[in-house]
Structure formats: C-alpha cells, structure tokens
Amino acid sequence: MSVLVFAENWDGNFKKLSFELVSYAAKVAEMTGTTATALSIGQVSDDELKKLGNYGAKKIISLKSDLLKNLDSQAYTAAIAEIAQNEGAKIIVLANNNMGKSIAPRLSVRLKAAIGSGTNKLPQSIDPFVVYRKVYSGNAFAHVKLNSEIKILTLMQNSFDPVETANEASIEEREVSIDGALVKTQVKDVQKQTGKLLLTDAEIVVSGGRGMKSPDNWGPLVELADLLGAATACSRPVSDEGWRPHEEHTGQTGKIVAPNLYIAVGISGATQHLAGVSASKYIVAINSDKDAPIFEAAQYGIVGDAAKILPQLVNAVKEVKAK
C-alpha cells in the first residue's frame, strides 16, 4: 500500500508544482498511515529526482522508456496503471493541469477508481474518503465521497504549499511492459514560448481589461508586471480584439489561474472572468467605476483612472525596491 504521485518534469526539471504535488501526497500518505512514492516519466537526472525526496517521497520510481517521450494519453495511462498496481497504490495523485487531466480520468476507468478532480485541499476525512472541490466555475464548492477501493485525486496548482523535509529517498529505474502499437499520437511540431514567465506558473499576475482603452496603453502595466516579477494577463474581449495574445486570456473560457496576487486593471469582474481568477489568494482591483462587480471579489481596490494610477504604482514599486 502506498500513495503514488505522478511528478511531471519540464525538459528534465521539476518545478514548484511538482513539489506541491509530492508534499501533498506525503501528507495524504501520513493521514492514511502509509508513505508516498513519486513517479517520474522521462529523462530526468538522479540529482533532480532526489529533490522529490526532499518534499517527502520515500521512494522514487523513474521510467525513461522512449515510448513515453511524448504524451500519448493511452501509453501514459498504461504505464502509470502498471506502476500503481505493482506498488499496490490505493491513492494516486496527479496535477490538475493539461497532463493530469488527460491521464487521470483514463486511470479512473482502467482501475475503476473514483476521481476527485481539481481538489484544492487535503481530504476532509479518510474513512469515508471525502474530498473538497470547486464546482459551478468557482461559484460553489462540493464535498464528494469517493466510494471505490482505489482513489484518484488531481490537485489544483498553487493550492498546497510545498514542505521541505530532510529525507533520504531510494531511486529505482523501472521498465514497463507497454506495447509500441499503443502509441497512437505522433507529434509533428512543437512551438514553445521562450523566456517568458508562464501565466500558470506565476505567483503574481497583472491583468488588463477593456478599461485599458487601447492596445497602446499597455506599457505601464507590463512595466509594473516586470518590476513585480509577475506574468501579464487580460480579459477575454482584450484578447478577442487582438490587443493582447490569446495565451493571456484568463477566465472560464481561458486560463484558470490561482496566483498569490491578481491585479485586475480596468476589468469589470464578470462572472466568467472571475471563474478563472477567483481562487487567487488576493485580488486587487483598479477601476473607474466604484460599483464594478470586481470590487466584490477584491480585497484591495482603487477607484480611479488606470492610465493615471498605473504609472504611479510603477514609481511606488521602484521606490520600495530602491530601499
């Protein structure tokens, strides 16, 4: 028996999300009186793998098969299911990101395991096994009981703080018995954004809406983001108009983010926008309309003209930094 956690890597490196997952799995393992085993797929060095141990994994299994070079959801599912079965895993933890969402539901069917998808907390209780998850695009939460012997959880990014602990983990390189014929996805081309902080990784996000008035006014917003080490985002009409790139659109139909700080500038706060950002720890709103719904979701607000306020914020941050 153990808790198996799939720790995704990016070009051979783990990132904060991987450590959040392993820390979460270690805590769930503790609650269920067992230990966490981390699974890595791809070419990852032993030094990098060891890091998973520092976040509480007792054992680290590494799969380096060429068949798993690119994401093929069937091949990945077969591989993870095989490891889960060999390890007698009763709980499997994955990220609630593109990768996790394409594998976890398949595992659920294959292992007849109930899934608690997009949870942002530790299980409420272990027996019965009850998880907490967001529903109605963040307008409510649900307490859901998982009734199967094996359970699958997908954890929302930035919802569990990584916990570093001194711990020696064993690393085992394994093979799985997947058949090449299973791989039915062929990757033809990859286009990567480089050198830019990913919106989904950012701990601070500065986002602009139609209240920015024109694509030419983004200078101070981008400068503020750079100074804060933040990613930039926007509302849907802004990306629809082509003022900002599509990757920046947050909301129900765009990216769902949960940074520590979300600064919404000239964004009205429509439910569909809030659906993608309401899990942020702090929301700041800058809006000329004191009745804009965004102020109901925000902890801090300024009623005023974005064009005037943004440059002043830039200066204020510069001053603070100079100290």
């Binding site: 069917v109 009981k145 990757v187």
Partner: protein, 249 residues
C-alpha cells in the same frame, strides 16, 4: 466520415448559483439551461469542417446523456446545424456514468472523431472525454485548440505548458477541446430552427452503471472580506498594504 459532439446541458454562466434540499441540489428556479459553452464551440468547429467538402466530413451528430427535460438544449444544437441527435435517457450523477453511457452509444454506432468539451461549467469535472476514450480503448488528445480535417485526415493543435504541439492521431479518437477550437459559437438561424423541428432525436435506454462518487453537499463560497479602498490620489499606499499587510510582494 462522421463526427460526434457530446453536449452537456448546464445553467447559463451568469446564473446566481443557489442550492436547496439541505444544499444537495441546485435550486433550478429561474435557471436558463444552455449548451455547455465548450460543446457549443466544438459543434461549431464540426459544422465548419462539414461545410468544407475537402474535409471529407459527411455528418455531425450530437449526443447527450440526460432526461427528456434537456431536449430543448438538444433541439438548439439541431437548430445550429447538427444533422441528428442521440439522447440516452438517464439522469447521471457523475462523470463515470456519463462516459459509460456515451461509450455504449458509440459501440453501437461508430464515429471517426468524437468531440468533448474540456469541462462542463457546472461540475467542472474535466473528466468525461478522457474516460470515454478509455472505455472505447481509443486515443484521446486533451487541451485541443485547433482541429483540421483534410480528406479524412485530422491534424490537431494541442496546448502544452508554455506552448503548442501539432499532432496527428489514429482514428477513431476523442478530442477534448478548449479555447481556440472555433472563434464564435454559431447561432441558430430562423431556417435552422424550422428544420430542427423535423430532425430526429433518437432516444436510447441506458445500461446499468453504479456511480463511483457520491455528492454529500454543496457549499456556497464564503464571502470575501470587504474591499479596502485606497485613495486614488495616493496609490503608493496600495503597494505598502500589499507589502506589509498582505505580504504578497
């Protein structure tokens, strides 16, 4: 070549969500039911492909697992342009049941491309599409932001962390679609609404399947603390609050 679009019936996204029966049921008074926004975009893309003779796409069917009361939503899909519809007469409580029923439909009537949305805007599960693919033992591609079909061959763009990948995949497959798959949802024109009246909704009886999960209760979100306003003449104070009070910068 045939495309199946799986549609879920969800409360309009501006609905004020309230619950009844000790917070175990959505209070549906005054709720407007609509096609899940992603599914509407998936349907739009399927129809765009069918409109292009070079694609080889000949038919677009929609499938829904739900009671007779969701037929207006299915009719709407037919009015937008789907050729026909299948409704599995079953009121699911969770995704595993939905995927089981859809898989049964597809085993009896095969499709080349199956489209699902990335999530239903009600339960936000993001699970039906991939579960369905596993039941069918078919490949699935998630986070699909582009789908093109030429002479029956599909090319897919999927989002990965920090970029995009172009992939090809063996048919039949399930594509789980998101932003980018189509620009604007197609709207039903008068002619489509008239035609939809005569299009067929095939009703099939469900197979038995017990749920793996059980809803205990819903919880409305806790109201956030009231907004603290900073004077527009002194924005610097905001930075101080973020630094010293919230401790986020």
């Amino acid at each position: 070549m045939k495309i199946l679009v799986c549609i879920s019936n969800v409360p309009d996204t501006t609905t004020k969500v309230k619950f009844t029966d000790n917070n175990t049921k959505l209070d549906s008074t005054g709720v407007q039911w609509v096609i899940n926004p992603w599914d509407e975009l998936a349907l739009t893309r399927a129809l765009e492909l069918k409109d292009n003779p070079a694609s080889g796409v000949k038919g677009v069917t929609v499938a829904h697992v739900g009671p007779a009361s969701s037929e207006p939503t299915i009719r709407k899909a037919l009015a937008i342009g789907a050729d026909d519809a299948i409704r599995v007469n079953f009121e699911p409580t969770e995704a595993y049941q939905v995927a089981t029923q859809l898989a049964e439909v597809i085993k009896n009537e095969p499709f080349d491309i199956i489209l699902c949305g990335i999530e239903s805007s009600d339960y936000n599960g993001s699970t039906v599409g991939s579960m369905l693919a596993e039941f069918l033992n078919a490949p699935s591609v998630s986070a699909v932001s582009g789908l093109n079909v030429e002479n029956g061959e599909a090319t897919i763009t999927r989002d990965i962390d920090g970029g995009k990948e172009t992939v090809s995949v063996q048919k039949p497959f399930v594509a789980i679609v998101q932003k980018g798959i189509a620009k604007e949802p197609r709207i039903a024109a008068m002619r489509g609404i008239m035609q939809a009246r005569t299009k067929q909704i095939k009703v099939v009886e469900p197979v038995g399947v017990s749920p793996l999960t059980e809803l205990i209760e819903f919880e409305p979100p806790k109201p956030r603390a009231k907004c603290i306003f900073v004077d527009a003449e002194n924005p610097k104070q905001l930075i101080e609050l973020l630094q010293n009070e919230a401790k986020v910068i």
